[in-house]
Amino acid sequence: MIPAAVEYTRPSTVDAAIEVLADEDAKVLAGGQSLIPLLRLRLSAPTVLVDLGALADLRGVRQDGDDLVIGAMTTYDAILRDPLVGRYAPLLAAATQTVGDRQVRHLGTIGGSLAHADPAGDLPAVSLALDATMEVTGASGTRSVPATEFFVDYLTTALAPGELLTAVRVPNNRVAQGWALVGVAALCRRDNGNIADIRVALANMAPTPVRATAVETALTGAQAHHTAIIPACDRAAEGTSPADDLSASAGYRRHLACVLTKRAITGCIAGYVDET
């Protein structure tokens, strides 16, 4: 289980990285925690690895107005240690805590997770619920891609060859929870006992993370009470196409989506709601 022969470069600027990435068979190496196992199984066979390890500008979390800007090369561990994330994006902190194990969290990066776009990944669904925006740099300049447009298909994103995800911009949110066989990320805003605004995103219920629109429609403006929430959550799997595989049947995933949506929304209403 040795990777196939590959060339390697560790550029010292984003521009130099983009230049190499123009080659369609080049592959970005961030933390390597998804890529290296794939290289070893020879499921991925790039001609050149572009190691972003020397790009210090892509590491770290900063505040920009009301937004939190998280560099693509920020590790899970650094996200968990960051006071800004704990304060402004507790959902991201909670979900990151469940990613891999300590060793994986020391090397794995948020940008790597999002660009890898594994349907079972936690952070793609979290980015969708947080209404995050991906900051992308290419030869022709930079562009912003909303999370809703970033995840295109199984392991496929809106990144074009020659483009690099440099940061994730997260609006100031207050939110709850995240899983893996099926994951649910929910954000609610309550107004005088009613649900003023609700967004629910599902991980691993389709080739991309998807919003549970039936639940959102049923609950927007509804009373923040179990009599409204429970029947609405039974519709969480509407319009989804979960995988039927060794880990779980599609039916079980639909069941989980409903159960976890109930938990996520209930948790959200109970403890994580910003009522100001």
């Binding site: 289980m1 040795i2 990777p3 560790r10 390597g32 290296i36 196992p37 561990d77 300590r102 994986v104």
Partner: protein, 200 residues
């Protein structure tokens, strides 16, 4: 080939490596650090865990089968062979594993100890639940977890009583040579066939 420089257990090694070389094979086959083992070969079991400095210089646990040797260029690495102190005393985590018999076949032990050192450096007083969660990346196929948890708990207590961090002491170049506690026969009496050789 790529030129890399890694400081392993206090000794700097400059080598030409193929970019596809995994750190664990570089450690074992090029540098002879066979204390670090390859377990599952799929980055699940954690047997290959070593400490590696992050960009800020902090030593953190990583699975050396999921790191390319080129990614370790310029970094510090501490393996199980560099954990004992310069005065030949076992690290408190090693000592506690010994005293609590926190191993059965022993194959997971190097990774389990390095992961425990990483955990205790971060959290000097973990609950049993935090110990189990902290070691979730390491598997013991003998299922000898009870004594492993006891050993980590003991080591945490010993470290706190001694008022020291679990972070390894400055590694000694003597590690792996004739002054480590498990050195066995003096080197000149060791038969050639048991000395690890790089695989051609």
């Amino acid at each position: 080939m790529a030129r890399i420089s890694i400081t392993v257990d206090g000794v700097r090694y400059d080598d030409d490596v193929e970019p596809r070389t995994l750190l664990v094979y570089h450690l074992r086959e090029q540098l002879g650090k066979v204390g670090t083992v390859v377990g599952c070969d799929t980055s699940n079991c954690g047997a290959c865990t070593v400490l590696m400095s992050d960009p800020d210089g902090r030593l953190v646990g990583v699975k050396s089968c999921a790191v390319l040797a080129v990614q370790a260029d310029g970094r510090q690495v501490v393996t199980i062979e560099g954990l004992a102190g310069p005065d030949n005393t076992l690290h408190p985590v090693q000592k506690a594993f010994h005293e609590r018999h926190a191993l059965q076949c022993g194959f997971c032990t190097p990774g389990m100890i390095m992961a425990a050192v990483d955990l205790l450096t971060d959290n000097p007083d973990p609950s049993d639940a935090q110990i189990r969660e902290g070691l979730e990346g390491n598997l013991c196929r003998c299922t000898g977890y009870q004594n492993i948890v006891r050993a980590v708990r003991d080591a945490a207590r010993d470290l706190r009583e001694a008022g020291r961090s679990a972070a390894p002491a400055a590694p000694t170049p003597l590690a792996g040579e004739d002054e480590t506690p498990d050195s066995g026969l003096p080197r000149e009496q060791v038969p050639d066939e048991v000395i690890p050789q790089p695989v051609p």
